[in-house]
């Protein structure tokens, strides 16, 4: 039993690397562009499909396929932002959601039309990497591929962090995230910064898609689930923080693999429940903060409840120390 838990913790943590890569792209878009791309998961699947096709049909070695695919996807992200997203963003929060969910539907079904419903995998193309593993003391099995994915995640997120901190583009992106108008006053084109962020986000999604296809199988309809995992990791880790995204991904991965110990369906559910718990915790904390702290807000709630039960006069809406509209 103990070994099983240890094994699950380890595998879940490593799985978190995959989630962190796909979540980092989503987080970058939310943090910088304030835009949630609901087709983010479908971009991951597209990246996987393109890589698989280059490898299986084109006969290109896997690594080369990835090297060709990633810049192409970056370009696609850039163009997509310049044509679709930027236009959609002019219509408030509504149009981005409509446009990207439409894009998701178009991508999923377009990929189904092109590639059919068969599940596809890169597993066969990467040889022994897909199953090779190290045996640790105590009989713990450590797959080489999960370790590779996790190490890549740490490297990619570290590189992204350095890029944002140390390069001209990175500073421009951060400045735009913080105050687009002030960034423009410094000579930064916020549109260019947004397009660059979109290109990076799609590249990260596509890279994650490749790992998804190496670890297991993808179908044209795998995208929405990946978006949901990415969103969960982002929310668990804290929106807009790269380090948080890595932790969020690992928490999600660990909860899923622990849930998987209970039952096969438990894996997804455990992930969802951790997400919902984090959400409830965060919203309650904000609610308490807006009502003068935990103690005051709980006390007021108790008074309100008692008055309601005994039919007395209504209690004040909030603690006297707090201010501002609800």
């Amino acid at each position: 039993m103990f070994d099983g838990v240890l094994q699950a913790l380890l595998q879940g943590g490593l799985l978190g690397g995959y989630y962190a890569i796909i979540a980092a792209g989503l987080s970058l878009m939310v943090g910088v562009v304030r835009f949630i791309n609901l087709a983010h998961g479908d971009m991951a699947v597209l990246g996987a499909m393109v890589t698989i096709t280059l490898t299986e049909v084109g006969g290109v070695p896997v690594l080369w396929s990835i090297m060709i695919m990633l810049p192409a996807m970056a370009l696609m992200g850039w163009v997509m932002h310049a044509t679709l997203f930027q236009r959609a963003m002019r219509g408030g929060f509504l149009l981005p959601i409509l446009v990207t969910i439409g894009l998701g539907a178009a991508l999923q079904n377009g990929m189904f039309g092109l590639w059919g419903s068969n599940t596809r995998s890169l597993g066969a193309s990467i040889g022994e990497l897909s199953w090779a593993s190290w045996i640790l003391p105590g009989g713990i099995i450590l797959g080489k591929l999960p370790v590779l994915i996790f190490v890549t995640a740490v490297v990619v997120i570290g590189a992204l962090h350095l890029m944002l901190k140390k390069t001209k583009l990175g500073r421009a992106i951060r400045a735009t995230a913080s105050d687009p108008e002030a960034a423009e006053m410094c000579g930064v084109s916020s549109r260019q910064a947004h397009r660059a962020a979109a290109a990076i986000a799609v590249t990260l999604a596509a890279l994650a898609g490749v790992f998804l296809a190496m670890r297991g199988q993808v179908t044209p309809y795998s995208g929405p689930a990946q978006l949901i995992f990415a969103f969960e990791a982002v929310v668990i880790g804290g929106i807009g923080s790269l380090g948080g995204t890595l932790i969020g991904g690992m928490v999600l991965g660990v909860s899923q693999s622990l849930g998987g110990l209970i039952s096969p369906q438990g894996s997804l559910l455990a992930g969802h429940l951790v997400f919902v718990s984090v959400l409830i915790w965060r919203l309650s904390r904000d609610w308490a903060r807006d009502h003068g702290g935990w103690r005051a807000s709980l006390a007021i709630s108790a008074i309100k409840l008692r008055r309601r039960l005994t039919g007395g006069a209504p209690a004040p809406d909030r603690a006297p120390s707090s201010k501002g509209a609800a």
Binding site: K168, R171, A172, R174, A175, S178, D179, E181, A182, A183, E184, M185, C186, G187, V188, S189, S190
Partner: protein, 242 residues
Amino acid sequence: MMTRLIVENLTCRHGLLTAVRDVSFALRAGEVLCVIGANGAGKTTLMNAIAGTHRPVGGRIALDGVDVTAQPAFARVRSGIAMSPEGRRLFADMTVRENLLIAAENGRAGDWTLARVLQAFPQLRPLTDMPAGRLSGGQRQAAAIGRALLTNPVVLLLDEVSLGLSPAAVEGVYQSLAMIKEARTTTMVVVEQDLTRALGFADQVLCMAEGQTELQGMPGHLSREQITDAYFGIHDKELSDV
């Protein structure tokens, strides 16, 4: 000498409200214009329109004879118009050095370097690695002006220079601005609430009330009374004849 900045019949709206109506002025290289007026007179909107963050509904802005009215803000910075905005608008999570670097990297090439800005604003020297969000009011203003200068502008727009600053901080900022003015290369448009300060510093004064130009001219040619009347938007036949 060529006119550096021309603003012609500029009109700006916020929804239904006309915030700036038919404002015109022209400035030569190195000249300083102070814009004065009560709160809500349209000064900040005028500044934003010149900087490119507010799109005017009418009129024209030209820099060195080139019409820049249609240019977005970032392109105007690259053409040579930079602003230290109302509220400073520093990137709070980024360090002072990063705030300055962004301007230097994305603006024009020129004499202003990080070292020279730190020389002009010595109070920033020990703070370069501090997040901009933790600076005091005076330090923030210095950083915002430094950031604008690092884009190497030919026209520098300074909104609400002394708002919220201690008298000592105001003195420090104006000492630095005086150095810039002495060089007579950078044209400045300054929004200043302190009348004495504005009249002492400006080559030209523009007084606005309710979006319109009430009074315009060289400080030496205007009486204190004329200016205070214009400031409060008092319309008087005798005054409008001046």
